[in-house]
Amino acid sequence: MPIKSRDFIALFMPFLCVFLPMYFLYTSDKSYYGIPISAIWIFLCIPLTYIFLFIASRKEK
């Protein structure tokens, strides 16, 4: 089961987005309206994941 570039974009990029900055965000004291920045980042990952999946599905075509 070789990993295609489509699968790489779809699978690894969203994981990197969530996992890579999490240490810095989680240990940061910054917050907006009482909500820690780590929570805001995870919500920003929602449209980012969609974009990666969209690009991956285009690659299929």
């Binding site: 309206y33 009482g34 599905s57």
Partner: protein, 464 residues
């Protein structure tokens, strides 16, 4: 309130009748699994419907309010979000494996791929056992909704009503109807969450000044941030991967028309999580305005009741009840398919549907009874479910990769992983935040690959 609540359920009932038209529901394959009938839209609705279970709508804000911590926001959102990329890659291959083996359930796939009826039964029984906590979770939510209606009925009558309601939906519906009712449910859930969020934001400054003076509404994981972070990341990883082994999602995948329908549906699914920030806003309002509830899981419903007139609350409560019913519907149908096809395989086609419905009734009864045993938060039950499910993943991957191993190795590896997870959980072993499934999964993988590892170890010695 009760009138609008009943109207919602009545519409759902009408939709389930509509779904029966033009399809041969007497055929158990069509009734339980709707094989090959779902294009991208129906597949999307059914799969997303399962993402938004009662655990999300009640458990997520309830968990935030109970823990006052951002941790649940991170792992809960993180694992569902990352489950979509995993499913984007895995599901088309699962569909392909289903076509190759003619499987409509996960145990079918295991049985056909490893050519073992014993393994098929083992996986079937295991999945039935693992699905019990999830049924319990739906009933805890359904009971919470019915309690909030303030009907003049005893808790036992209420539970009986919830169980009857769930059975009626499943018995009438079939998988096609579950997908159709998802349309109504999703529309109502979206409307309910968005309207409660708008009301919360409007009321935030227009009501009396917040009594909670701490500037940070949600705390990071206490004195050991590194342990908490390890817990969050390992939980996200384990649960996002285990998500693709959920039995009813696998049934929905086998029901898809083709691989591109699956990929198209998966592409859009992350956007559906746009409701999660809204649920966080609702929980934050509850924390800052110190909304009191008898159970944390009631927070969403109590806030809706504080901000809206009774008749509008009926719609919101109806939406919450439908999330539980749709989820129960697809779980029950997947379980019935597993029991009638894999666990007790020699039932003739005429009796398969009757036996399936008896299984569903039994599952509903046990789940409902278990929901009264202990007052565990909904979000905790969600974790227990995935502890078990992830142990099936390594051998599931073997099915997709077309690799063969002895069935005894699979049974041994899954059992070892499960026993180790249960021991860690029962003895409350501190793994410095690491999800207890991770070491259990490593043991599972080592046992599954014992022949390969043995040959690798043996090779240098034989050369010498």
């Amino acid at each position: 309130m009760i009138t609008t609540f009943v109207i919602v359920l009545f519409f759902a009932f009408l939709l389930s009748l509509l779904a029966r038209r033009g399809h041969h529901e007497s055929d158990p394959r069509a009734f339980f699994a709707a094989r090959g009938q779902f294009g991208a839209i129906l597949f999307f609705l059914l799969s997303v419907g399962e993402t938004y279970s009662i655990g999300t709508i009640l458990g997520f804000p309830g968990g935030i309010a109970a823990s006052h911590s951002v941790d649940i926001v991170l792992w809960f959102t993180g694992y569902i979000l990352l489950a979509f990329p995993v499913c984007f890659v895995v599901f088309p291959k699962l569909w392909e494996a289903g076509q190759r083996t003619g499987a409509i359930t996960l145990p079918d796939l295991f049985g056909a791929h490893f050519n073992s009826k014993k393994l098929e039964k083992f996986i079937g029984i295991l999945l039935v056992l693992l699905m019990l906590p999830m049924g319990t979770m739906q009933f805890m939510g359904l009971d919470t909704v019915l309690e909030s209606l303030n009907l003049a009925l005893s808790p036992h009558t209420m539970s009986f009503l919830a169980a009857l309601l769930a059975f009626a939906f499943v018995a009438i519906a079939g998988l096609r109807a579950a997908a159709l009712i998802s349309i109504l449910k999703d529309f109502l859930v979206l409307a309910a969450i968005v309207s409660v969020t708008c009301a919360v934001l409007w009321n935030w400054h227009h009501t009396s000044a917040p009594t909670h003076t701490t500037p940070l509404l949600l705390e990071h994981g206490g004195n050991h941030p590194l342990q908490s972070l390890t817990m969050i990341l390992s939980t996200i990883l384990v649960q996002a991967i285990a998500f693709c082994v959920v039995p009813q999602t696998a049934v929905a995948t086998f029901s898809a028309r083709d691989q591109s329908s699956i990929r198209r549906a998966q592409t859009w699914m992350p956007l559906y999580l746009i409701l999660f920030p809204c649920l966080l806003a609702i929980a934050a309002y509850g924390l800052s305005h110190q909304i009191h509830t008898s159970k944390p899981d009631q927070l969403f419903l109590v806030i809706a009741h504080t901000l809206f007139p009774d008749w509008l609350c009926g719609f919101i409560y109806g939406a919450a009840a439908l999330t539980a019913l749709v989820w129960l519907g697809s779980v029950c149908l997947a379980l019935a398919a597993i029991v009638t096809r894999n666990v007790i395989p020699n039932i003739d086609t005429k009796h398969q549907k009757k036996v399936g419905l008896a299984v569903i009734a039994g599952y509903i009864f046990i789940s409902e009874a278990a929901s009264h045993l202990q007052n565990i938060p909904i979000s905790k039950i969600n974790n227990i479910f995935y502890f078990g499910l992830i142990q099936i993943f390594p051998s599931f991957l073997y099915c997709l990769m077309g690799k063969k191993v002895r069935y005894s190795d699979i049974v041994l590896s899954i059992s070892a992983g499960l026993i180790l997870s249960i021991c860690f959980m029962v003895w409350n072993v501190n793994l410095y935040g690491l999800n207890i499934s991770v070491p259990a999964l490593l043991v599972n993988i080592i046992i599954l690959n014992n022949n390969f590892l043995y040959s690798k170890i043996k090779m240098p010695f034989s050369k010498a």
